[in-house]
C-alpha cells in the first residue's frame, strides 16, 4: 500500500489549488464576507488552512475565487480502480501484419457520429489519415478499410451501412451531449445491432467520447468504451487483438482443440 499526498514544493505538503465562483457580492464592504464564504467552502472540501489568494467581483452578483491550501485527504493507491489496457499496443506495421495473417483480407471499420451530434472531431481524429497526438489515423493502415459516415447518422442508417460494407467493427463517437443523450444513443445503437445480426456475426461495437466511463461497456451493450485522449494506435491495437483472438479461438474450437 502506498499513501500519496499532493505535492506543492515539499514532499508531503499536501498543497492544492482551486478556483470557483460563488453567487455572492464582493463589492465594497461585502468583500470580507465573500472571502469568508470561499474559505468555508474550501475548509469543507478538506483544505485547511485555506488561503483565498484572489477575489474578483464579476458584476454585482458573482465573485470568482482562487484558493491555495493544504488538503487533509490521503490517496490510497490500493483503492484506485481503473480499466487497464488488456491488449498489447502494436505499431501500424504490427497491426497490418497481424491482420494479414489472420484475416487474409482487409479489416473493415465503419465509423459515425450518431444522433444529433454534429461534432466529428473525435471520429475524425481516430479515422482520418491525419490522426491525433502524432499518430496517424486508421486510414493510414494498409490492412484496414475505413468508411467514415460523418455526423448525424441515424442508427438504422448505420446498421444498413455496416451490413453493406460487411463491417468487422463499428466505431461510434459522441462528443456533445446533454441529458445523457450519449448513453441513450449508445444503448439504442447496440440494441439495433444485436437485433440485426446473429450473435456470432455481429461486428465489434466501440464507442468513444469525453463523457463516457470506460467501465460502462457491459451496461451500454458495447464491446469497448474509449474515453478522452484515446489515440488511433490504441483503437487499432484493440481491434486487432479482439478480432484476431476471436478468430484464433473459433478456429481452435473448430479444430476440436
Amino acid at each position: 500500500m502506498t499513501i500519496l499526498r499532493p505535492y506543492g514544493d515539499t514532499t508531503g505538503d499536501g498543497m492544492v489549488q482551486l478556483s470557483f465562483t460563488l453567487p455572492v457580492s464582493a463589492v465594497g464592504s461585502q468583500a470580507k464576507a465573500a472571502e469568508g464564504a470561499a474559505a468555508q467552502l474550501a475548509a469543507k472540501m478538506g483544505i485547511d488552512p485555506a488561503m483565498v489568494v484572489h477575489t474578483r467581483p464579476m458584476g454585482p452578483d458573482f465573485t470568482f475565487f482562487v484558493v491555495y491550501g493544504r488538503v487533509n485527504h490521503l490517496v490510497d493507491t490500493d483503492q484506485v480502480t481503473v480499466v487497464q489496457r488488456d491488449y498489447p499496443l502494436l505499431t501500424p506495421k504490427e497491426v497490418n501484419l497481424a491482420l494479414k495473417r489472420t484475416l487474409r483480407r482487409k479489416l473493415v471499420v465503419v465509423g459515425a457520429c450518431i444522433g444529433t451530434d454534429a461534432h466529428t472531431v473525435g471520429i475524425d481524429a481516430i479515422m482520418n489519415i491525419k490522426g491525433f497526438a502524432g499518430e496517424k489515423g486508421l486510414e493510414y493502415y494498409g490492412e484496414i478499410t475505413v468508411v467514415n459516415l460523418g455526423a448525424q447518422v441515424s442508427v438504422p442508417e448505420l446498421v444498413v451501412r455496416a451490413q453493406e460494407e460487411r463491417a468487422d467493427a463499428v466505431l461510434v463517437s459522441q462528443v456533445v451531449t446533454q441529458r445523457d443523450a450519449h448513453l441513450l444513443n449508445t444503448k439504442e445503437m447496440s440494441a439495433a445491432f444485436r437485433e440485426a445480426y446473429p450473435a456470432d456475426r455481429r461486428p465489434v461495437l466501440v464507442v468513444g467520447g469525453p463523457r463516457f466511463d470506460e467501465g460502462a461497456a457491459a451496461d451500454l451493450g458495447v464491446d469497448r468504451v474509449f474515453s478522452r485522449g484515446t489515440t488511433p494506435g490504441e483503437v487499432a491495437s484493440y481491434l486487432t487483438h479482439r478480432i484476431t483472438s476471436a478468430r484464433t479461438s473459433r478456429a481452435a474450437q473448430k479444430a476440436g482443440v
Binding site: 478556483s19 470557483f20 465562483t21 474578483r56 464579476m58 458584476g59 458573482f62 470568482f64 444529433t116 451530434d117 454534429a118 466529428t120 472531431v121 475524425d124 482520418n128 489519415i129 491525419k130 460523418g150 455526423a151 448525424q152 456533445v176 446533454q178 443523450a181 469525453p210 478522452r228
Partner: protein, 527 residues
Amino acid sequence: MTPRSPGKLDLDPVTVRKARTLARQVGRPIVRLAQQHTTVSVERATLRLAGLHGADAEGIPWVNRLADAVRGDVGLEHGIALPVWDALLRGEADDLTVLAQKASAGSVRFRVPEGRELVRARAASRKHVGAGVRRLDARRRERDKLVRRWGDPEQKPWIYLIVATGDIYEDIPQAQQAAREGADVIAVIRSTGQSLLDYVPEGATREGFAGTYATQENFRLMRAALDDSSKELGRYVRLTNYASGLCMPEIAALAGMERLDMMLNDSMYGILFRDINPVRTFVDQRFSRQVHARAGIIINTGEDNYLTTADAVEAAHTVTTSQLLNEYFAKEAGLEDWQLGLGHAFEIDPGVPDSFRLELAHALLARELFPRAPLKWMPPTRHMTGDVFRGYLLDGFFNLAGALTGQGILLVGMMTEAVVTPWLSDRDLALQNVRYVMNAAGNLHEDFRPVPGGFIAERARQVLGESIDLLERILAHEGKYGLLEAIADGTFGLMKRPADAGRGLDGVARKAPGYFNPASELLEDRP
C-alpha cells in the same frame, strides 16, 4: 473599416487580380446554376416575406403546409407565388393563413394561372411580398438610426461572445451580462441538429441541445433585450445567428425582419460539413445573401471549419480559396465589402516551430487581400487540450495576432474550450485577456511591418500561390460546373460530396419557363 496603408506584405497586384479572376471563373457557372433552380426553402421564404407565420397544432409551420400543398398540385417549378395568389384572388381564402389551413386540409386546389389571371396574380403577389422587402428596408434604417444614437464600439476588433443555454429566457440575462462585461456582438448558438430540419420551429423555445433554436420569436426577444442593453451601455450591441442548413433562406428573411445584425452564412459549409446537397446549398445561399445584402446584415463565413478538420499549415490555402469564392458569391448577390466578415482561425499546432509567425502570415494575408472586409477571427479549438493554463496563454497569442493584423471581429477564445460550456468565470477571464492585449498592444500594428522578403511575407506569398493552384485545379475539371465536380471528388478536405446526393435534394426544382418569384425579382432589383 478603414483600408490599411497598402502592402505590408507587398503582394503582387497582378497575382491578386489573377486570384480574383479565377474565383470569378469558378463561381460564375455556379451562379448560373443557382439562377436556373429554386428550392422549397426559397419559396417558403417568399411566403414569410409576405407575412405568413405561425404553425399548426403539430408545430409544422404554415409556410411548409402551404408550400407542400401547392407543390403537390402544380409542382415547384413555376414558383409558388402565382398559384398561391391566384387562389387568393379566386376567393379561396381571405388571407394566407386561412389559405394555408384550407390547403393543409385538402380543400383548395391550386393551378398555374394564365392570361389576365396570371397578370393579376403576379401583381398581387408583388404587392404582398414587397411589403416584406420594405420591412427589411425599414429595419435596416432603424439599425442605422440606433447605431447613430448609441454608437459603435470604441475599439477594433469588435468583441464577439457566444451564449448557448438552449432556453431563450436563460440566454437573455446571459447575453445582457456578456454585453455589460464588454461584448460588442452576441451570438446565440443554435441547437445541435437544427441545420438538418426542413422547417423553422415556431415561438419562444426553452428546449435545445447545446444551443437555442433559431425562431422568429427568439430573434425578436433577444433583439429587444439587446436594445435595452445598448441603451444602458451607450453602444449598439449587435446580435448574430446562423443562416445555414436546410432553411437558410427563411432564416435570413426572419433575421432581416427582426433586425439581426450579423449572420453566419457560408457558401460551401453545408455541403462539406453537413452533407447537404450542393445544388440546394448554392441556390439557398444566393437567395439568403440577397436578403442579407438588402437587410444590411454582415455575413460571417465559415473558413475556420477547414482548419478544424485538416492541418492548419497544410490547408492554409483552402481558407484563402474559400475566402475568394465567398467574396465572389457575396458580391454577386449584392453584398458590399463592409458586409463580408470573411472567416479564418488560429489553429496551427503550437508545437510547430514558428507557429505564431505562420499565424501572422495567414492573418495578414487575409487582411491585405480583403482590405475593406471586417474579417472574422476565430480562436484556437483544436489544440486546446484541457490544460486551461496553457490554453489561456494560447488565447493571449491569438488576441495578439488579431491586434497586430487588424482583424474586424474577434470571437473570444475560452480556456475551457473542449472541457465545458463556458462558465461565468471563464468568460470573465477571457475578456480580461482580450482587454489586456488590446490595451497593451492594440496599436502595435502601427509599428509592425514584416521584413520584405522575410519569413512572414514569403509564407503569405506561398499560401496565395497555393490557393491560385487550387483554383486552377478546380477550373481544370472537365464538366460545365468545375466547382461541383471538385466538391464531388473531395478536392476540399477529404469529404466527397456529389451533386446528385446529400440532404435536401428532393427540395430542389429546375425552374420552368415562366417561373415567377416576386421576392427574387425585388431583391435582384437593388435599391
